[in-house]
Amino acid sequence: MTKLALFMVIPLLLAALGGVIIVDVREGGTDGARVCVPVPLALAQIALPFVPDHARRVDLAEAEPWLPIAASMIDELKRLPDFTLAEVREADSHVLVRKEGGDLLIEVDDGPDERVRCRLPLRTARSVLHRCRDGQLRVDDLVRAVQFMPGGRLVHVRDGEAEVRITKL
C-alpha cells in the first residue's frame, strides 16, 4: 500500500516541483516500438552539475548580435493581438505561422500523412533570451525557463503512422 502511494505521489511531487517534459515516440507499423520518456525538470536540475562543463553550455556566439532583435520582436509580439503572420498554401501542403494568445504556433501539413504542430510560448522564449550571456546559454538556465513554461503540447510531428509528441505537464 505504501509503495502504491509512493508510486502515485512521487510523479505528482516532481510535477509540482517544476513540471515534467514527456517525450513520446511511436514508430509506425504493427511491430513499431513506442518509447515514452518522462523527464522531471526538477531531477534534470539536480543532475546537471554532474554533466561535463562543456555540455552544460550552448554556444550562441554567432547568433549573439541577433538576440536583441529577437528579444524586441518577442516583446512586440506579446503586445499585439492574435494574428496570422504567414500562410502558404500549395497543392496539398499548408504552412501557417500564427500568434495566438501568448504563443507562436507553427503548423505544417504536407499531404494527408505529414503533419507538424509546434507551440512556442513567447514568455519562455523571452526568458531564454534574457538568460543568454556572453554568447552562451547555460543549460540549467534553459531548464529553469522551461520549468516556468505553461503546460501543454509543445511539439507534435506525425509522419504516416510514426508520431513524436513533446508535452509539458
Binding site: 524586441s72 512586440e76 500562410e87
Partner: protein, 203 residues
C-alpha cells in the same frame, strides 16, 4: 448592515472602474498599420503566400538591429565591380533621385523593345514603374510599382551607402493605407500594400 453593504459595493465599483475603462483600450482596439504581402499563383489560387507584418514588429526588429544593419546591410546595387556593367551605388542613386524629384511630373525612362515596354515616371505624389511584356501567357506580364515620393525620399535619407529603413517605416506609418507594389504575370499576382487590418482584404 445596509450601510456596510452599500459601502462595500461602492468600494468594489471604485476599484473596478479603472479596469473597465482600460479594458476597451486593448492593443486590438488601436489602429495599427500592417504590411501585407500576397502572392497568388494560378487563376484558381493554385498556390498562395500571405504575409501579414505589423509595422510595429518591423520597427521593433529595426530598433534592435541598428548596429547589425550598419555592419551587414550596406547596399550596393547591381553587385560588385562585375564585367557586366557599371555599379550604381546608393550615393549615385540619391543624386539621380534628387534630380528626378525636382523635375516634377515627368517621364524619366521609356524603353520599347519588341514586345516589352518599360516606363518610369512620376505622377503626382507617386513614382511609377510600369513594365508590360507580351509574353507566351495569354495575359502577358505586367508589373505595376507605385511608390509614394515621400517613401523614396525616406529610403534615400541616409548617408553614404546606407538606405534609411527607419525613415521608411516611419513614412509608412505616416502615409497610411495604400498599395505599394503590384506585379501581374498572367494569372500570377504579387501585391504589397499597407492597411490597418491584421488579415488581408480580398482583392
Amino acid at each position: 448592515m445596509k450601510t456596510r453593504t452599500l459601502l462595500a459595493c461602492a468600494l468594489v465599483l471604485a476599484l473596478a472602474a479603472p479596469a473597465v475603462a482600460l479594458a476597451g483600450k486593448t492593443p486590438a482596439a488601436e489602429k495599427e498599420p500592417w504590411i501585407h504581402v500576397e502572392v497568388r499563383e494560378g487563376a484558381e489560387g493554385k498556390a498562395s503566400v500571405n504575409v501579414n507584418l505589423p509595422l510595429a514588429l518591423a520597427e521593433a526588429a529595426l530598433m534592435g538591429s541598428e548596429g547589425i544593419l550598419k555592419e551587414h546591410m550596406h547596399v550596393r546595387l547591381d553587385g560588385a565591380d562585375g564585367p557586366d556593367g557599371p555599379d550604381i551605388s546608393v550615393a549615385d542613386l540619391r543624386r539621380i533621385w534628387k534630380a528626378a524629384r525636382d523635375a516634377g511630373d515627368a517621364e524619366f525612362i521609356t524603353v520599347e523593345d519588341g514586345g516589352e515596354k518599360v516606363r518610369v515616371f512620376r505622377e503626382g505624389e507617386h513614382v511609377c514603374v510600369n513594365v508590360d511584356h507580351a509574353g507566351d501567357k495569354a495575359c502577358g506580364e505586367k508589373v505595376r510599382l507605385r511608390m509614394p515620393v515621400t517613401l523614396m525620399d525616406a529610403l534615400l535619407a541616409g548617408e553614404g551607402e546606407e538606405l534609411n529603413l527607419t525613415a521608411v517605416l516611419a513614412e509608412l506609418r505616416r502615409a497610411g493605407e495604400g498599395e505599394l507594389v503590384r506585379v501581374e504575370d498572367g494569372a500570377d499576382v504579387v501585391r504589397i500594400w499597407v492597411d490597418d487590418q491584421p488579415a488581408p482584404d480580398s482583392d
